[in-house]
């Protein structure tokens, strides 16, 4: 016996509302309202894929209250929903339709519509007192004196607190590894290949030097290129806004004429003496 029961009309109106929410939020995708509607869309999409189709099938097959209890109905709703995607895919393939948002939305709406109509009809045929209806159980007299209740409440409370704790941590804690500056060199053509590998003594070579600021704040960098204990290129006070990229083609002329000459690219945070990022490049100096 339940103290509150949801009428059949209201239940199906709620299901229709969920489907309508999904359709409307998808139609509004790309508009200014899309970001506001993203949460209702996700909830409606999850309900329409992991619960509602299976629930309606279970309701059509087991319309009477006595045939399934609530946990059984919830479980069947879930597993039946999980077994439907192949049916949708085979149906779309049979109709020579491709699989994308529109066809998936239409097929899901059609399935929910058809199975919903059948389940509504079957449940409507069942006498009211035997029909499955959603409801809340009557409030039981307090049994708070029993130790099992205390243990259970403590357990659930600890679980709820833990869950709230981890959700809170996700929201409140800063993003891990927030300080990320990418420093790299590309060849003149802008790829990580085809670098110049050998030059004549006194000749120059060109690189694209890129600083990508993924830090939590705007950054100011100093850049140096060293060769044979000498600084052969320097650029100070490079301002890079958060999320922005500094990219410059740099021409350097090695002064160390050993067969294998090492170019060292150092990036400093302005005002610091220790290099923040370091790159190195071996260039072969041909005999003159």
């Amino acid at each position: 016996m339940r103290s509150f029961r949801l009428s059949l009309e209201l239940e199906y109106a709620l299901i229709a509302l969920v489907v309508l929410t999904l359709v409307i939020t998808i139609q509004l995708d790309g508009t200014s309202a899309a970001s506001t509607l993203s949460v209702p869309r996700v909830i409606a999409a999850l309900l329409c894929t992991v619960f509602i189709p299976g629930y309606l099938i279970a309701s059509a097959l087991f319309p009477a209250d006595s045939s399934l209890d609530l946990p059984q109905r919830l479980a069947l709703s879930f597993v039946l929903s999980l077994s439907l995607p192949p049916v949708t895919i085979f149906a779309l393939a049979a109709l020579n339709l491709s699989v994308h948002l529109e066809t998936l939305l239409v097929s899901l709406t059609v399935i929910i519509g058809i199975v919903g109509a059948i389940s509504l009809f079957r449940r409507w045929l069942i006498p009211l007192d035997q029909r499955f209806l959603w409801g809340l159980p009557p409030i039981q007299p307090s049994t708070s004196g029993r130790s099992i209740d205390k243990v259970l409440w403590i357990g659930i409370s600890i679980g709820a607190l833990l869950l709230l704790g981890v959700i809170g941590a996700v929201i409140l804690l800063p993003e891990p590894n927030a300080s990320l500056t990418e420093f790299y060199i590309l060849s003149e053509t802008g790829v990580a290949a085809s670098y110049p590998n050998q030059i004549m003594p006194g000749a120059s070579i060109r690189f694209q030097i890129v600083i990508d600021n993924q830090e939590a704040q705007p950054m100011r960098y100093d850049l140096e290129v060293e060769n044979g204990d000498q600084t052969i290129y320097a650029a100070d006070g490079l301002e890079v806004a958060r999320g922005e990229r500094f990219q410059r083609t740099v021409e350097v002329r090695p002064v160390d004429f050993n067969e294998q000459s090492l170019l060292v690219f150092r990036l400093y945070r302005s005002g610091e003496d220790v290099a923040y990022r370091t790159l190195r490049y071996w260039v072969r100096i041909l005999p003159s």
């Binding site: 999850l46 894929t49 879930f78 999980l82 439907l84 998936l104 899901l108 990418e182 670098y195």
Partner: protein, 546 residues
């Protein structure tokens, strides 16, 4: 042993189910947070890539990169992703584990309750299931196993439900319809697992015939136990499911056929169907029994983390022996305890598959990892048996009142330990495991960078597939891997165009006592640095190399 008895009205079953859902949510949330929402392992990336590929191609059945074992999970992922607007990665790594945490405990509870005919044992079994590390692992990661095990539980719920029916044709037909809809879903989720599941059903049928014939040999009355009639039905169930598998492989989902025929010999093909094995190119190189020593810091740590598994298996086996003994001594009879007999037969059937597959593994004739794949169903049927054993003991032992606080404290400590062990094992906790399954944000940044600026060539990605998995997903997301066709290498293949080296990888090499590739890397160009991860490139050795 177990006696079906009404649950006391004072026992708040719904609240207990909610408590188990809360436990599952806490477990999965912890696992998501522990890896920073960046799980990087083979099955997750495979299925993410398959789904992204289907999304680009607008087709599942003719996708250029199909999942040959079944399309239900990619189709489900694609459907949820398209409709919700969430990325496949976000669904795989964060959203779906939490959605399944809400529903899986309910599915497990109704199944175990139906099989054991007891609310309390159903609850206890569900609780134990969510302390089982391997079950947590396979239902957390982005693998088809989330759906597979939910559907297996659903199928056994329907089977156990029909075992109560006698002569109610209409109700039976409705249940049969549900059963085959779920079976179709399972077959399309992973048809090779489904076929091994069907083999287990056949073994259950054969075992049931033998056991019941033995138990009923002295009975003169003509009425056969109801369970015998239903066990007979299992052979029709197996035949119908095999037909569905055949139709799916050969007519509905062609990629499965190609996968099956990729296995060279008839023996291999049959093994693929019977044991749900992934054929490997060089099975002699794979020894799953090195798993413990290579994956965990020590065998003792592995044993400590999986102690719960062995405990459950031990208690379940003991319960199985006691139950079968009592059947044999006619203290239990199949007329009244049909579902209990079915549970014992199913547990035995999956156990037989594990034992046979272990021999097949050792022979190296089929592939690898058979026993690991089949371990989950054994545990799923071991858990209710263990719950029956524990419940029976608790009922029979009358503890003095003064000892109860001590027992409650011990149980609470055991729970906390098993919870810690389950989460540590499922997360492949880096403190204990050498097999790390997460990727850091700086490493992800290099994967994006390589996909954007790297050209066709080979990349060395570390000691195993950890980084490689993420690079695959990133390059699929950027939709340019087909043009670049990068070759990814890990392990000892150091002769590549690019090398990715990170602090995490360095820590792993230290843990594994490997020689650092410092000499090799010092002669390479260091072309990218983000602080904790670097990319090196080999120098051109001739003027013709770029």
């Amino acid at each position: 042993m177990i006696k079906p008895r009404p649950t006391p009205k004072s026992l708040p079953i719904s609240w207990f189910v909610i408590a188990i859902i809360a436990l599952a949510l806490v477990n999965y949330t912890y696992l998501i947070l522990r890896t920073g929402g960046a799980l990087s392992e083979n099955d997750t990336y495979q299925l993410t890539r398959v789904t992204l590929s289907a999304e680009v191609a607008d087709t599942i059945l003719e996708s250029p990169r199909p999942y040959s074992h079944g399309m239900n999970y990619p189709a489900f992922l694609l459907q949820v992703s398209e409709l919700s607007g969430l990325s496949v990665n976000a669904l795989q790594l964060v959203v779906l584990p939490l959605v399944f945490a809400l529903f899986l405990p309910i599915v497990a509870f109704v199944t175990y309750r139906e099989i054991t005919r007891s609310d309390v044992i159903g609850l206890l079994a569900t609780f134990l299931l969510f302390l089982q590390p391997d079950f947590l692992w396979v239902t957390w990661r982005g693998s088809h196993e989330k759906i597979t095990w939910a559907l297996v539980l659903g199928l056994f719920f329907i089977l156990a439900r029909t075992f109560q029916l006698r002569g109610q044709l209409r109700t039976m037909l409705v249940n049969i319809a549900v059963f085959y809809l779920l079976a179709l879903g399972l077959i399309n989720t992973n048809m090779f697992f489904s076929s091994s599941f069907i083999i287990a059903v056949v073994i259950t049928f054969l075992g049931g015939r033998v056991v019941i014939a033995f138990l009923e040999r002295r009975r003169s009355t003509p009425d056969r136990p109801l369970i015998d009639l239903h066990l007979q039905r299992l052979i029709y169930v197996a035949a119908a499911c095999l037909l569905l598998v055949y139709v799916t492989i050969f007519y509905l989902y062609p990629p499965a056929r190609f996968s099956l025929f990729n296995v060279d010999q008839l023996f291999g093909r049959v093994s693929t169907l019977v044991f749900n094995v992934d054929p490997v190119a060089e099975p002699e190189l794979v020894n799953p029994y090195n798993y413990v020593t290579s994956t965990w810091t020590s065998p003792l740590v592995y044993f400590a983390l999986t102690f719960f598994n062995w405990l459950i298996l031990g208690v379940a086996s003991l319960t199985w022996i006691v139950v079968m003994w009592r059947f044999w001594r006619h203290k239990l009879n199949p007329h009244q305890h049909g579902t209990l007999l079915f549970l014992c037969l199913a547990f035995a059937a999956f156990s037989i598959q594990v034992v046979v597959s272990a021999f097949a593994d050792l022979s190296g004739s089929i592939g690898a990892n058979l026993q690991v794949r089949l371990f989950t169903p054994v545990m799923m049927f071991g858990v209710p048996l263990a719950a029956i054993g524990v419940f029976t003991v608790v009922q029979r032992v009358q503890l003095p009142t003064r000892l109860r606080p001590v027992i409650v404290t011990l149980v609470a400590i055991a729970f906390l330990y098993f919870e810690f062990a389950a989460l540590s094992k499922a997360a492949n906790e880096p403190l204990f495991s050498n097999k790390w399954v997460f990727i850091t944000r700086p490493e992800q940044a290099t994967a994006t960078w390589l996909s954007r600026y790297g050209i066709s060539g080979s990349i060395w990605t570390g000691v195993d597939e950890r980084y490689r998995s993420d690079l695959h997903v990133v390059s699929t997301l950027l939709q340019d891997d087909a043009d670049k066709q990068m070759q990814l290498y890990n392990g000892s293949s150091l002769n590549t165009d690019y090398y990715v080296w990170s602090e995490v990888e360095r820590a792993r090499w230290i843990r594994l006592n490997l020689y650092m590739p410092n000499v090799l890397l010092s002669s390479r160009h260091l072309i990218y640095d983000n602080g904790s991860t670097q990319i090196y490139r080999r120098p051109a050795l001739t003027i013709y190399q770029d």
